[in-house]
């Protein structure tokens, strides 16, 4: 119980977020949307970190710092991804993921 909310609720929310992210990544064709979907996945993991930190070791902060690091890395990763997407746009005039298929047999 964290502030009256049971652990399972947090976990359910994070799981739902995770699968929304996975589905978004697989289904959406737009690269920006896919990037947003990955952010969802990362954030669902962040929720888990924070929740378990509070739940298991209320007087420690490692889990919360971990999620802060993840946020920072996600920002860096997003900037790299955006740079890639801009380059793809310059080359193909669109950012549909099906068009980026040159690496194959």
């Amino acid at each position: 119980m964290i502030q009256g909310i049971p652990l399972e609720h947090f976990l359910i929310v994070s799981t739902i977020m995770f699968f929304i992210g996975v589905c978004g990544f697989i289904i959406r064709r737009n690269l920006i949307t896919m990037l947003m979907a990955t952010e969802l996945i990362l954030n669902s993991v962040n929720i888990n970190f924070v929740v378990f930190n509070r739940y298991l070791y209320p007087d420690q902060l490692q889990g919360q710092f971990f999620s802060l690091f993840i946020v920072g890395i996600a920002a860096a990763e997003a900037s790299v991804a955006i740079a890639l997407i801009i380059n793809i746009y310059r080359k193909m005039q669109n950012i549909e993921v099906e068009n980026v298929n040159e690496l194959k047999f």
Binding site: F25, I26, I27, V97, V100, L103, K104, F105
Partner: protein
Amino acid sequence: MTGYTYTVFIILIPLVVFLITGLLGMKWKPIVSGVIGTIGMGISWTLSLITAGSYFFSGNHAEGFQTILPVETTWLRFTDTLHINMGILLDPISVMMLVVVTTISFMVHLYSLGYMKGETGFARFYAFLSLFTFSMLGLVIATNIFQMYIFWELVGVSSFLLIGFYYQKPSAVAASKKAFIVTRFADLGFLIGILILSFVTGTFDFGKLTEPGTAIFGSAASMSFLGISALTWAMTLIFIGGAGKSAMFPLHIWLPDAMEGPTPVSALIHAATMVVAGVFLVARMFPVIHFQAPAAQEIIGYVGGFTSLFAAVIAITQYDIKRVLAFSTLSQLGYMMLALGVSGYGGEEGLGYMASMFHLFTHAMFKALLFLGAGSIIHAVHSNNMYDMGGLRKYLPITHITFLIACLTIAGVPFLSGFFSKDEILVAALNHNKLLFAIEFLVAGLTAFYMFRLYFCVFWGKEDRHYHHTPHESPLVMTIPLMFLAVASIFAGYIPFHHLVTSDKIGFASEMNYMVAVPSVLIGLFGIAMAWILYKKESEVPAKLAKSWGILYTATYNKFYFDEIYLFVTRKIIFNYISRPIAWFDRHVIDAFMVGIGLTTEKISYQIKGMQSGQLQHYAFMFVAGTLALALSMIYFLM
């Protein structure tokens, strides 16, 4: 001990000459290679004579000759007990062989300057001759059986190269292949023999192996295979190697064909030196064979006796001058083997051993002379067929006289060298085995007959034959070796071999046995007389005689169809029933299995390569699906 280190130059000079003429020979005028080779060989020859002189004739040898190892190094060291040495071993037989090899080789080098003049590949010829001389010298001075085996194979290679010297001629190529394969096949026996022998005794060293009364065979007596002792197996297998090189029946088939090589090569390799390597090997191993494997010694005696009879009979019917000489060589090699086969050990008992080495020495001289004489005849007439010749004594006086001397020597006419050595062999055979004596006695007559058949056909026969251009005597560079060898053939018999080269290295007194000498001279003279009657004047009698013998003559003329039998056995039986099934198995089972693995991989890859579509989302889907499947299965199986 010291004082003989210069012997290393005897074998190193031919090697250096081989490398120089082989690598640089193309850049010079051909004659330069020839001169370098001849001079190098002359130095080797001189050194050999000095070695022999100081070995045999200085110091006191009442206690027997010492075995000297002037040079010895470890070549390959596996463990403290298992190591292979390289070195030089001087004892009576190796010193004698040094003299034989370098003498004949020098004569052949000199002779070839004239005989091979203007041939393409003159430099190559000299390079190969030097390679051969190097290998043969390395063989005779080997300190251990492994070194001997290495040089044995080198000798085989140089023989192969020289038989196939005229490599544009298909028959020469076939002959060189045949010689190589047959001797190689025999060498397999030799190798296995070496392995058994060294396994049993734990050493390769001739010194340890042939020491009388040595203890290294102590454990060997108990080992046996198929009821025959391990040492008998080893010695018989080693003898097979020797029989291959010395062209003993039934491995004799390569020698007559080897006459495709240039005639000086036949003189050097296939008459005087290489073919006696087998005899030398048996002589080298003689104490082991005699004391540890008497059964193998019996085999050696009978194989030698049979070969000498068999070859002498065939020689009567051949008309190619070089082939007659080749079969005569076979026959004489048979004599030497037989002498070793009937010999005892030590003193008077070792007469056969001494006679064999004696005959080896004298035979080298007169057979080289015969071949070089034949080369001179071929040089003049441009044909090998003795029925194309006749009356040549007017045109080739020096060749005629020297050839006649050689024929008289081989026929065993008294006071020439062949008489003494052959007589010793006959005495040794009479003392040990009456049957072999009878064979050799008969062969002595046959030898005289076929040699004089050749002589009369070539130099007398049809007197007024017309040649395309008048035959002319060979240049001096070719006749000097002939004259030298003729002198050697006459006087080699007076070398006191029974004091120098004996089985236990201690000299013994030997006396002429008139009970043997007189009949053997008579049968020799009878053979000569028969040849005189039949071939002195060209007549119809020989042809009629041949016809009256009918099928026997044809069979003999075709060498008793041994080549055909070998071809039948190899082509029809081995190829069809062994090689082909194995080839089929190789192609259709082993290869197919390997190819099948490759093909299956390729097919599967082709089928699944569509999965790598380049579509990022497909990959992601697969990844997630796989992770889920793994997670679910973990839950399912572990819970």
